[in-house]
């Protein structure tokens, strides 16, 4: 059995064979492998790794070459007839190699160093979503990447491309249905979102892995002129979960919304790093990350807004709100601004709070137990964020996942009177 600790170039070739790489992709992998080999693991001395320490991870516990399910919903017939593509990465490489080549690896930005090269060299699953010019897909596209095996290793790659004027909603879920207690796993994922001129993408990503997962993810979105992106990250599972989420506003009129929700208990550690990068004038970005931590769980949020000299008349907002549910839970929040343009608007804020005793008392006086009362307040804390999702089905999927994790049975679906 080969593990991450003794992985070699042979494994690159094996992965390429399993996925069915065209020659160009194999060459990309080899190049990534060279960089991977030459790059040391990041240490806590680096700003972005200050709060998440992976130096004591035993990489020998994670076997490479894991096969697990990736389940995709079906594309609307009409959209498919008009050239939309929604399939696994391996299928896309077989059927649409030129198109995939155009986008896969187009964005090579990374702040994850060695981990990013690892994903590029060993990409073994993922999906490709392509919506051609003017095509609007109304039903949310759902992908479920599963992992339940002990010692599993996953290197998913998500690529979503919306051409000019296209519209789609994508629900990208990482989950462990019926995983046994005590299993461990390692996921190193990369997501690339390309939102074309005047296109509109709603991208919801939710990880509710089993609690033995080490989850690393790096996401880059590029927005063209007048493009609209709403990207939501839901972090619930794993023992360590570190996500880097970037929105790059490349052309005037682009608008991006980044939303994040995390609920941690036990000794879970969450680390979210966001980047709102304004490269053009009249661009707008908004961000809201809400984290609730219980027990000994810990959340770190670091976020940077960058305004380049070209980004005149740009607007950016950033807000991180934390709710601590126990005396031993922790939340770090580090907002950062880098403003190189002189005519911009930029605001950021952060807060760390606890559940108010008066709120608990009010709910308890109506017959709710302390636990249910607290869970209800947690749900309420998240609700404004969940309300920003575009579809009722997605809102309910997130509510249910949060509910499952809290372990209470509060009904939250809207009842029309």
């Amino acid at each position: 059995m080969t593990t991450i600790a003794d992985i070699s170039k042979d494994n690159v070739s094996k992965t390429a064979q399993t996925v069915g790489d065209p020659a160009w992709l194999k060459a990309n992998r080899d190049a990534a492998w060279e960089r991977y080999s030459a790059t040391p693991y990041p240490t806590r001395k680096e700003e972005l790794w200050k709060y998440t320490d992976l130096s004591r991870i035993n990489w020998g516990k994670y076997a490479v070459g894991t096969t697990e399910n990736v389940v995709l919903s079906t594309l609307e017939k009409d959209a498919a007839a008009r050239g939309a593509i929604f399939c696994t990465l391996a299928d896309a490489l077989k059927k649409h190699p030129e198109l995939v080549q155009k986008y896969l690896g187009r964005n090579t930005d990374t702040v994850n160093g060695k981990y990013a090269f690892e994903n590029l060299a060993f990409t073994d699953r993922g999906f490709f979503c392509f919506v051609p010019k003017g095509v609007k897909i109304t039903t949310p596209l759902h992908v479920e990447t599963q992992s339940t095996q002990d010692g599993a290793t996953l290197f998913p790659r998500t690529i979503v491309v919306l051409e000019e004027g296209a519209e789609a909603t994508v629900f990208d879920q990482f989950t462990s249905p019926n995983a046994k207690d005590g299993v461990i796993g390692y996921t190193n994922a990369r997501v690339e979102l390309y939102v074309g001129q005047s296109a509109r993408l709603h991208y919801l990503q939710m990880q509710n892995w089993h609690n033995g997962m080490l989850h690393l993810l790096e996401q880059h979105a590029e927005l063209e002129r007048d493009a609209y992106l709403s990207a939501t990250t839901i972090s619930l599972g794993g023992h360590i979960s570190k996500s880097t989420i970037a929105a790059i506003l490349k052309a005037p009129g682009a608008v991006s919304y980044l939303f994040g929700l995390g609920y941690g208990n036990d000794k879970q550690q969450f680390d979210h790093h966001t980047m709102q990068t304004h490269l053009a004038p009249n661009t707008t970005s908004d961000l809201l990350y809400k984290m609730a931590m219980n027990d000994r769980a810990r959340s770190t949020y670091t976020g940077i807004i960058t305004m380049t000299p070209d980004a005149q008349k740009a607007d950016a907002y950033q807000s991180n709100k934390n709710l601590l549910l126990s005396k031993t839970a922790r939340a770090n929040t580090v907002p950062q601004l880098e403003i190189l343009a002189n005519d911009v608007r930029c605001t950021h804020g952060a807060s760390v709070g606890t559940v108010e005793d008066e709120q608990l008392y009010y709910l308890e006086s109506r017959g709710l137990s302390r636990e249910v009362a607290r869970d209800m307040i947690v749900h309420g804390f998240f609700e404004d964020l969940i309300g920003k999702l575009p579809e009722e089905t997605l809102k309910n999927a997130v509510r249910k996942a949060v509910n499952d994790k809290l372990g209470t049975t509060i009904e939250l679906e809207d009842i029309a009177l």
């Binding site: 008392y361 006086s365 017959g367 209800m376 998240f382 404004d384 509060i410 809207d414 009177l417």
Partner: protein, 257 residues
């Protein structure tokens, strides 16, 4: 002999070591409405919140009985399920939790299980109509951005839905204009039954024009200093509380002598 619905026996309460209630005695039978009057700061709200089980108030002596059960040591949720309800003077906002889901959870706790959605919907609609509440009210977050009148109406809606045995109304009339006051009072009267007891805490006579009490009590310095019929409230309206202060002072002196 039938036992009283609600009985407060020599209740003494302090907050952070400071004594606020100094031996309160009160008995309320089923079917009775009692008004508890007094100036601000005399201990009325402390009494209401102590009865509901607010953790901030420490009971240093006495007992509280509800339908024969000693509830002195119970948690607020246990008191609620036992049939006690407090309409708050300042209802707290619970952002992100809408009225429907909140009421469903509360009813579930009281019934020990879910109510079929259809029945719940019918009940809620009916009660909201009776309180002249628009349906959109149900999907708003609990007390979040509510006007004073909306908050008080929501308290009455909760009371109507939970159907408690014993109701404590803490300054439910404060901050209401006359129309809102009428709606709220109507809600109290409509849901009143021969099995329910009501303790209405107020420092104005105004609400008593709409909700007719059987008994009126006056609180001063953490004690009930005078009890009487509805005419006592009218007397207070005319003369204020000062004469009572003198009267009780004299009484106290008399006792001391």
């Amino acid at each position: 002999m039938t036992q009283p619905l609600f009985k407060i026996e020599d209740l003494k309460v302090s907050i952070e070591g400071k004594q606020i209630l100094d031996g309160v005695n009160l008995t309320i039978n089923a079917g009775e409405i009692h008004a508890l009057m007094g100036r601000n700061g005399t201990g009325k709200s402390t009494l209401a919140n102590t009865l509901m089980g607010h953790p901030k108030y420490e009971i240093t002596g006495g007992k509280i009985w509800l339908a024969g059960q000693d509830i002195t040591e119970l948690e607020p949720e246990e008191r609620s399920i036992a049939g006690l309800f407090l309409a708050f003077q300042y209802p707290i906002a619970i952002p992100g939790v809408n009225v429907v889901n909140f009421l469903r959870a509360a009813l579930k706790a009281h019934r020990g299980g879910d109510m079929p959605i259809k029945d719940f919907r019918i009940l809620l609609k009916e009660q909201m109509n009776l309180l002249s509440m628009q349906q959109s009210f149900a999907s708003r977050y609990v007390n979040d951005g509510f006007s004073g009148g909306e908050k008080k109406r929501l308290e009455i809606l909760q009371m109507a839905m939970l159907n408690p045995k014993m109701v404590l109304l803490d300054e439910t009339d404060s901050g209401l204009d006359i129309d809102a006051l009428k709606v709220v009072a109507e809600g109290i009267n409509r849901t009143m039954t021969k099995d329910r007891g009501v303790l209405l805490v107020t420092h104005y006579q105004r609400i008593l024009d709409f909700v007719k009490p059987n008994f009126v009590h006056v609180m001063m310095n953490g004690k009930i200093v005078k009890s009487g019929g509805p005419e006592l409230a009218l007397e207070l309206e005319k003369q204020g509380y000062d004469w009572l202060g003198k009267e009780t002072k004299h009484e106290n002196q008399a006792t001391a002598n």
